[in-house]
């Protein structure tokens, strides 16, 4: 059992509102973990600041008493970056969800870190604009967490990562100093861009409390198609066609039949095709009059086995739920060991053909669910725990097998974590993608900004 210094607790009781901190067992369990289920949640205290000033005073206090703090957003992360398993104080931004009015001519909106992604979408949507970072967990995830993890998602092929949609940040450092980085400036070439340093830093350098987000126009009407193809080579062949097609693709997602079966089982949805296929592609495009001819040409050249086109917004949502329901369905119907890797798109085919051999050697006959964002070279690989295997044995086995896969990733100049981050989960694998020099520089930056190491200790590196 971890205990916090009495003087620290007394200072919190003295200096903050009555409902600022909680040791309620439910709160400790809830706020101590994210969507990973590998580590046991064991925080000592959860705090719920309402203002940047409260965050600043809390961090100054924690720094003075050498108390570890885990910044926490919507806790939908998949790398245990927001997990508190060593008696830390969890700093939840959930109460900081204010959103300023949308600046239509500037195309920006200023929000607090705890604003929910989907609520920000609706807020901007009232002005026919959007913040185009979009992913399955948008109903829970928070802006601060998105930025701290440089979240990706399903629209990266069209809009890029979170990094491209953040103009300004307010960040509280470990000692309580507040930095205002960038403001609402589109252009600001005045030395090293510190704002970018905090985007994707997983809470180890500072706590993001507010952000000025860049907005863009809402896309027009969209068409959603689902294709059935024979194999990953077919997925890649079709992608080459999409790249050259007279269409504006919003998303190009693929998943295997293993994923589809789990989703249909968990969500009791109707199957999209009469006969199953090995691989499926979900394509979303801006509606245009060239689609019909393009589709006809795919069939003429036998690039797809079958396909459906959503006839209504409801059908479009139904097709999307086949893709967006995968992660949740895998966890609800079994225990997945997740990997989120990326490769240069050009290397995907060579990589996956070698990967099959690794799977056959390491996981003979196991169920492996693969899906991902082909346009970004991003594969989500989920090895499902066999029903008759204990959790600990399964994790140990998977960890061992990961090494073979990561070596293959490194050989093809890929990344061992494309969009989920490193957190606690992928820490050991970091050297497969980042060199010793790079990691040393990261440590040096950490030492400058957080010399006592109180911010999210143990995440990314020890």
């Amino acid at each position: 059992m971890h205990t916090l210094p009495d003087a620290f607790l007394a200072a919190i009781a003295r200096g903050f509102p009555d409902d600022f901190a909680s040791t309620d067992a439910d709160d400790l369990r809830t706020y101590g973990r994210d969507w990973t289920r590998v580590f046991e949640a064991a925080p000592s205290l959860i705090v719920f600041p309402r203002t940047t000033d409260e965050v600043s005073r809390l961090l100054a206090l924690a720094n003075q008493h050498r108390v570890a703090v885990v910044p926490s957003g919507g806790r939908t992360g998949l790398a245990a970056g927001a997990v508190a398993c060593r008696g830390e104080v969890v700093l939840s931004l959930s109460r900081m969800r204010h959103m300023a009015p949308v600046d239509v001519s500037g195309g920006t909106v200023r929000v607090q870190a705890g604003a929910i992604t989907e609520v920000v979408h609706q807020h901007a949507g009232e002005h026919d604009m959007t913040w185009p970072v979009d992913f399955a967990s948008k109903g829970s995830s928070q802006i601060g967490g998105n930025i701290a993890t440089n979240a990706g998602g399903v629209k990266v092929i069209r809009y890029g990562l979170t990094r491209q949609w953040v103009l300004g940040l307010e960040v509280v450092l470990a000692d309580g100093r507040v930095l205002e980085l960038g403001g609402a400036l589109e252009k600001n070439n005045t030395g090293i861009d510190l704002r970018q340093l905090f985007i994707g830093s997983e809470g180890i350098l500072g706590v993001i409390t507010e952000a000025t987000l860049k907005l863009t126009r809402n896309p027009g009407k969209l068409d959603v198609l689902l294709f059935a193809v024979d194999d990953l080579a077919g997925v890649l062949r079709l992608f080459r066609e999409v790249r050259r097609a007279p269409l504006v693709p919003m998303a190009y997602e693929f998943f295997t039949d293993v994923c589809l079966r789990r989703v249909l089982q968990h969500r009791t949805l109707r199957a999209p095709f009469a006969a199953p296929s090995s691989h499926y592609v979900l394509l979303e495009v801006e509606r245009g009059d060239k689609l019909d001819d393009w589709i006809a040409s795919l069939f003429d050249r036998e690039l797809v086995r079958d396909g459906v086109l959503a006839q209504s917004p409801q059908e479009a949502a139904d097709l999307w739920s086949l893709r967006e329901g995968i992660s949740e369905s895998l966890s609800a119907t079994g225990m997945p060991h997740k990997n989120d890797i990326s490769l240069p798109v050009a290397a995907l085919e060579a990589f996956t053909s070698r990967l099959d051999a690794v799977f056959q050697a390491r996981y003979p006959g196991w169920e492996i669910a693969v899906f991902g964002h082909v346009g970004d070279g991003n594969l989500h690989i989920n090895v499902m725990k066999p029903d008759d295997m204990a959790k600990a044995a399964f994790l140990a086995h998977a960890k061992e097998a990961d090494r073979d896969m990561f070596a293959l990733v490194a050989e093809h100049h890929g990344s061992i974590s494309a969009e989920h981050g490193i957190g606690l989960l992928k820490k050991a694998a970091l050297p497969y993608t980042r060199t010793a020099d790079e990691i040393a520089i990261m440590r040096a930056m950490k030492a400058v900004l957080d010399p006592n190491g109180i911010l999210n200790p143990g995440k990314i590196f020890d």
Binding site: L226, F299, V304, L309, Q311, P313
Partner: protein, 251 residues
Amino acid sequence: MKILVSAKRVSDPNAKLAIAKDGKWIEGDVEYILNPFCENAIECALQIAEANEGTETVAIGIGDDETARFIRQGALARGIDRGILVSAEEASIDSDLIARIYQGVVHREKPDIVLLGKQAIDGDSNQVGQLLAEYLGWPQATFASKVEVSGNKAIVTREVDGGLETLEVSLPCVITADLRLNEPRFASLAGIMKAKKKPFDELEIDDLDLEDTDTKVQIVGLSTPSGRKAGVIVKDVTELVQKLRSEARAI
């Protein structure tokens, strides 16, 4: 056997609608969908056709070119054999005239079964199937949750208050589809391609030799629902009970 099935477009229930200045219709860039009950009727027609070789299925819609798109993509692309569009301005027809137009098409096509959605989800009138059966003098089975066709009759289970009712109707007949009748299939891309080449007739109301083309219902005005009243926070149970009694009149 021959089945005539409805393909009516409706405004998307999730879209925001703007009322026209004269207050009698909607305007602007409205997103339309195929009426979900018509989708159930289409799926039912396809299943009957698949179980009874030699069945011809025909989809009918009333409206303009946009309606034609819904007949093609919503009905023909799913497997209906051919389409008929009767040109009319949707704002200027009522349930009675729709039923009479269908009657005129039935006289030309002579189907054994007319399968309609039980109602359109925008107007919610729920009249066309019943009126049509009356004008044709045919038996009707409305709100169908199960349809079986054998020989010269159809066994139809309908959802009624407090249970199910099973009817046997002789053909020809009118059946209207309820939501639980089936799960409509997706329109396949191959089907969408094929749909472009399927026979498609365009008719004018005048082509149908109707005795009566007057509308009996006039829209006097449309209005949006009044906004929900904001909630209030009560300070204790006593106040809650008092408000439930005096304001909400719930107890």
